[in-house]
């Protein structure tokens, strides 16, 4: 037990305290609102809140104790996201062997990040897998519809594996765990802030054809609140005040972009959610859509500023 506690310093404890305070606040809020206005439809929000508790606990257990567990957890997350994407995308039966290659790439990519081979983990997918995957399709020999498969399968791998593996890359640099906590917390809170501001003030639709519930008010309110939150959480990072304001602002925008990219993909496939894995949220991909885009952006900004 003592050895486990050595990993946890005071900043970690402060962060964990903040996470649980936010969750407790949300649970209490919905509980009181439910008592005051029984007619308000809070079932879905309550379910979401419950899922947030579980996700936060799983995330903290996976990241606080040991780096090894974290890498395994990220690999599993990539696996589930990849499986979800392959399930909803209408690919050909001839693409099975290329998909299998994608699954095999997961442990390879996380091995590179675990070892801290930064260049290897940055080029493995966009250089090597991008050559291997189309070649595997060529070897199968079915050329009908091959253009779509050649484009979609590598893109899928970028979303499910490349983006997420930056969580592992973050852990491999000094002070990485604080940065990881910072990134995941501001990205997920950004989603929540956009939702809350949209509900409170939302009037002008920002992307009516892609995401009818998103508004300019939600977007601006979310981005500004997230930037402020980033500043408040700067104790987790080695950055200066100006740097962290810039980084938080850009990361919040990247999160928004990831969110609407996956939204538009779902719209094209006539789906509401990518699966039913998380009660109240939909699929795993629905929850991490902003993270897969925000993670590489955040990592490279921090790396650029603090190297």
């Amino acid at each position: 037990m003592k050895k486990l506690c050595d990993h946890i310093d005071s900043t970690m404890l402060l962060f964990i305290g903040i996470v649980f305070s936010v969750l407790t606040f949300a649970s209490l809020l919905f509980f009181i609102l439910g008592k005051l206005k029984p007619e308000a439809k809070l079932t879905e929000l309550k379910m979401r809140c419950k899922s947030w508790w579980i996700m936060a606990l799983v995330f903290l257990i996976a990241t606080v104790f040991s780096a090894k567990i974290s890498y395994i957890a990220f690999a599993l997350l990539s696996f589930v996201a990849l499986r979800e994407l392959f399930t909803i995308l209408k690919l050909r039966q001839e693409d099975r062997s290329a998909m299998l290659l994608c699954y095999i790439a997961i442990p390879v990519q996380y091995f590179f990040t675990y070892q801290g081979y930064m260049i290897a983990s940055l080029v493995f997918i966009p250089v090597f897998m991008f050559v291997l995957l189309p070649f595997r399709l060529v070897l199968v020999g079915q050329t009908q519809g091959i253009i779509q498969s050649m484009a979609v399968i590598p893109a899928t791998l970028m979303i499910a594996l490349f983006g997420l593996s930056h969580l592992g890359l973050l852990l491999s640099i000094p002070g990485g765990r604080g940065l990881l906590f910072f990134l995941v917390f501001i990205t997920e809170m950004n989603d929540v802030f956009q939702f809350v501001w949209g509900k409170l003030l939302g009037k002008h639709k920002i992307l009516p054809k892609v995401s009818p519930n998103k508004t300019w008010e939600g977007y601006i309110g979310g981005i500004l609140t997230t930037t402020a939150l980033g500043l408040a959480l700067n104790f987790l990072t080695p950055c200066s005040t100006t740097q962290i304001l810039f980084i938080s602002f850009v990361t919040a925008n990247a999160g928004f972009i990831g969110d609407v990219i996956i939204s538009s993909v779902k719209r094209d496939l006539h789906l509401k959610d990518t699966s039913t894995a998380i009660p109240g949220h939909g699929g795993v991909l629905d929850r991490i859509d902003s993270l897969v885009v925000a993670a590489p952006v955040f990592f490279h900004l921090v790396y650029f500023f603090t190297k």
């Binding site: 696996f79 589930v80 990849l82 499986r83 979800e84 392959f86 399930t87 039966q93 099975r96 998909m99 299998l100 699954y103 699966s275 039913t276 894995a277």
Partner: protein, 209 residues
């Protein structure tokens, strides 16, 4: 002993492999406890189908649940026959009539099992089709249900297993799968053709669920 063995396999080992490969989600599986004896009527795309169905069956009567399998395929030699009987708890029936088998052999075997109080898992398509495409149902099960109208059947729709492990493939590729159970139904229709047409439609309706 047999019960324990099947429980260890289908509640222990099979889910361990099945869960990552299929992330299988069951819908309305409560129906399995509503009747003592039933016949599962499902579409068939993959060997995974039987594994997915067997692992959700109530553990206390798993011994009494018999997936009906083609004798000419799984009973082709002593070893496959032994393995399917032992690990899958299968009921092997000849799919076509050879000189050795009388014409009614498959019916006799299934009816005997039903009389023993056993439940059956039947794929009326007769063989594994393409992923998520349903072939026409064969009439056989209609004849049996007309004779035993008091036995309930459960229409079941299985999605995406044909993508995980299609016919003729050896290496599985993970996809999210879904098994949707319908309500308990009883045989309705004047002749076997009508009975199976009703079944077919009931299975199709579950696609949207």
């Amino acid at each position: 002993m047999r019960q324990l063995f099947l429980n260890i396999i289908y509640k222990g080992f099979v889910p361990f492999v099945l869960k990552p490969l299929t992330g299988v989600k069951y819908k309305h599986s409560e129906v399995l406890t509503e009747a003592k004896q039933f016949i599962i009527i499902a579409n068939h795309n993959s060997h995974i189908d039987t594994l997915a169905l067997m692992s959700v069956m109530p553990g206390h009567k798993i011994k009494e649940i018999k997936p009906v399998a083609a004798g000419d395929y799984f009973g082709a030699n002593k070893w496959t026959s032994l393995i399917t009987k032992m690990f899958v708890n299968a009921l092997l029936i000849p799919r076509c009539c050879s000189a050795k088998n009388k014409k009614n052999e498959p019916f006799r075997i299934m009816i005997k099992a039903l009389k023993r109080g056993q439940s059956l898992i039947i794929y009326p398509e007769g063989s594994r089709g393409k992923a998520n495409e349903m072939q026409e149902f064969k009439n056989g099960i209609g004849h049996i249900l007309l004779k035993y109208p008091h036995i309930a059947y459960i229409p079941t729709y299985i999605e995406n297993t044909g993508k995980v492990l299609p016919k003729d493939a050896f290496i599985p590729v993970p996809f999210n799968c879904r098994v949707v159970f319908g309500e308990l139904h009883y045989c309705k229709g004047q002749n076997a053709k009508e009975v199976v047409t009703n079944m077919y439609n009931e299975v199709c309706e579950l696609k949207a669920a």
